[in-house]
Symmetry: C2
Subunit: 503 residues, 2 copies
């Protein structure tokens, strides 16, 4: 059936094809059916919905998403019910616990990207992976298929380095110090990051307070070829696009099958052309990887997967039991890292981690002799060369290179919690810190977050400040205070944890 396209400013989060009831009946198309749209030689897919409001017989309504694939208003489109995609058979094969072949995984990922598989099918795939897992052959095939169904960067500089932290530690602005150190040493590091999903600030959110983070791959190529590094948002790029669609399902189910997690991270490094990759696995209470055994097993998987992809991968298992540095939230973290870059020194947890990670990369890239990487990284930081490089990166990303930490606006509504008793700090709860910062408005309100005055092991006296909450509105501040009162994010030795009366 030939219908005339009508692009609608509707975004249901997936490609939906709106059809008048009359045409749907004639074409035997029912709501939620997968339909195939043929436009010239292209075939694209969407889910059917009956719509008698916007769509007259002879028309077909397309959600805004379709615009990105170059369909114009009033184009004549052949609309037919789509057959069950072949790849559903491979999902069923995985349900039976069987191993998938390379071609089968390629077909699955292609069908996900082509939107031939809907939430139903993707969810069945994710669930089967959560239950039966993927072996290393399958994970490698999945990683390459995910990368190759998206755009890939080809930078004319070698070697290409990359670094990735497995999330979960609040205040982890480390890689924004690692990148300028590495680039200042003459290596190339085209770093893409995500925005916060469940945390208080993703690297892209922090960088956005200093410069633009949304660029095309061509622009990134130009930036990186000029200054040696970048700190951009990966979400704007068409890198491993299947990943977004599987992550959407994983999040709804709060599952994260290891094979998919490995492929999700490494497919993007592969697409960015990275040859040397350092993976940072923070380990500790309240982060994704809670103990060393898990961390070591995951490290082996990353290294093994790297081998199959032709990448050299090293893993740093780092301490993730409390926040990195003192600041949490986009603007507050930006202030802390700029202060560190400008002065060449900062909180131990931040400087030690950043120079440690950067040092490993300098050794991997062959610019520092074995065992000398961290020392070299520290020199680059302390000499101001890392700051100079950061200014170049900020300028290349259309920010103000001369921005001062105090110029970065932070929330003006504040509240400070003080120590209810004297003693040593015995614990800072990552999850509670994140919850408070998010309740205060982070990451959407860039000035929201919190500042810690103490870290684990330090001594406080009754009445000493523990942390200040920053918010952009009184409402948000009040809500964050409630969360902070309820969650006791900082524990002091000797503190009465709970008082139980006569019940």
């Amino acid at each position: 059936m030939k219908l005339r396209s009508k692009i609608l400013e509707i975004n249901p989060g997936k490609p939906i094809v709106f059809i008048n009831e009359k045409d749907a009946k004639a074409a035997k198309i029912h709501p939620t059916d997968l339909v195939k749209l043929e436009i010239g030689k292209r075939a694209i897919y969407g889910e059917a919905a009956i719509d008698n409001v916007n769509i007259k017989p002879g028309e077909i309504g397309l959600s805004g998403e379709f615009l990105s694939i170059n369909i114009s208003q009033g184009e004549l489109i052949e609309v037919v019910p789509a057959a069950t995609p072949e790849s559903v058979r491979y999902i069923k094969k995985k349900m039976k616990g069987e191993k998938l072949k390379k071609v089968e995984i390629e077909s699955l990922i292609k069908d996900i990207v082509d939107r031939k598989l809907r939430d139903i099918e993707i969810s069945a795939f994710v669930t089967a992976l959560e239950i039966h897992g993927l072996d290393m052959d399958e994970t490698a095939s999945l990683t390459i298929a995910m990368a190759e169904t998206g755009d890939m960067l080809d930078i004319d500089r070698k070697p290409i380095m990359d670094v990735h932290s497995i999330g979960g530690v609040p205040g982890n602005k480390t890689n924004m110090i690692v990148v300028p150190i590495v680039a200042a040493a003459g290596l190339t590091i085209p770093k893409t990051s995500s925005r916060a999903i469940t945390s208080a600030a993703g690297t892209a959110d922090v960088m956005e307070t200093l410069a633009n983070v949304t660029f095309s791959l061509d622009e990134i190529k130009r930036i990186v070829e000029k200054v040696g590094g970048c700190l951009v948002w990966g979400g704007a790029l068409n890198l491993a696009p299947a990943d977004d669609l599987t992550i959407h399902v994983e999040r709804a189910l709060s599952v994260d099958p290891t094979g998919l997690m490995l492929a999700s991270i490494m497919s993007k490094k592969y697409a960015m052309g990275a040859q040397y990759v350092l993976i940072d696995i923070p380990t500790g209470k309240g982060v994704k990887v809670e103990n060393l055994d898990q961390a070591r097993s995951l490290a082996k998987d990353f290294i093994e997967l790297g081998k199959r992809l032709g990448q050299y991968v090293e893993v740093a298992i780092t301490y993730g039991g409390q926040p990195v540095g003192h600041m949490v939230g986009p603007a507050l973290e930006a202030r802390e890292l700029m202060e560190t870059l400008i002065s060449g020194k900062g909180p131990g947890s931040l400087v030690e981690k950043a120079t440690g990670l950067a040092g490993i990369i300098l050794e991997m890239g062959g610019v520092a002799p074995a065992g000398m990487g961290k020392k070299m990284a520290r020199e680059i930081l302390e000499s101001g060369k890392a700051y100079e490089k950061m200014k170049e990166i900020i300028e290349a990303q259309a920010g103000d290179p001369n921005i001062k930490p105090e110029d970065i606006p932070i929330g003006d509504k504040t509240y400070t919690f003080v120590a209810p008793t004297s003693g040593y700090i015995t614990g800072i709860d990552n999850r509670a810190i994140t919850a408070i910062a998010r309740q205060a408005g982070a990451p959407e309100d860039k000035g929201a977050g919190l500042k810690l005055y103490v870290k684990v092991g330090e001594k406080v006296k009754e009445g000493d400040p523990l942390f200040t909450i920053y918010a952009e509105s009184e409402t948000r501040l009040d809500q964050a205070i409630v969360v902070a009162r309820r969650s006791e994010p900082i524990k002091i030795e000797g503190m009465v944890l709970q008082r139980i009366g006569n019940i």
Copy 2:
């Protein structure tokens, strides 16, 4: 956020909540997010979509589906992002292979019916069941939860009988003879059926050529209390509504976990108040259950489940290796069964099966002595009492009780295939017969289908007619002929099956 409702004549096959971009941003609602609508004391759920076409700030668009839950135009509704439903934890528990408790299954089914679980979550549940299965405790809990979250029939006659055939055999109009025989014997049998999904005609499709099949539960109660039986469409009733939502997912994945299948069938019998249930499991090539071992194992499951539900269940394993009777397709099957009821005799495969099944029910219901049920059923059929009862049922369901078989309109475009060689019929392919009838237009075109002149074991001479295809349009007829040519639905002994030349 309070928004004013605007019911849209849009049917996306699931509850979708359309929000203007501005409001969505303010309420932190993203496309596909689960949102909660509070209307007075009620809370209902839907998936969010951004819509700047139909929806202005301050408004909320609701898909037509919401009308059925009594929301009116312009009503003020509190709209908030919904938290992840508790029952997602039980889906994850089942992913780990653990056994679910009764309260956990109840929570899952309630959340499915309340639309708190979307395709993503339901698909994960179905996939976990396909992989790990359900034991009999879980299946019983599931069955009861499915029934009790929907409407239930309470008929003032006892005992209540029911019969159900597990689909797959073309031409299976058997239960439309069983029901009038059983009701004529004084038992009560409120039979609900489905429409064809993958077959050429469901019982509801066939009955619809003779009478109305869409009634409310109250109307069904009146009909059954008056004439002792009915043949109605179950899909119009709110029986075990969770079932439709899981079946939608099962169909997309073409999986059918045993526990869900048992619950799907038995929850509806339970909701209809059935105390004695006969399950017919046709067994043979090209039907759902292909061998006797599978059939016996399934039979045990049905009987055991019945015990937990307080129902007495018997199972008949029947021959399903070829079509029942000679006619396939709604109107053609209606003609065949009315001829059989009127004359008291008909094709052996139909009469033997119908009186056999009816006989078991007569014995279960205590109106025939053990071993005498089939004889009694045959007498009721041959005496014309079954036909008289069928006339009462047709009249009670607003049809013409005096309708003659030849009055039922069938397709006037026909094509007859003849035997290419002489010999015995060695096989009739159920799947091919269904495919031909569907291609000819069944079940939507009620007059479409086919008539078989031969059954397995019969002798034919070259040129004898094998079957005639009926269609309502030339196009459909031509398409069905192509399918028939390609699939060779009827095999004759001695026939050259394939001819291979010099390659």
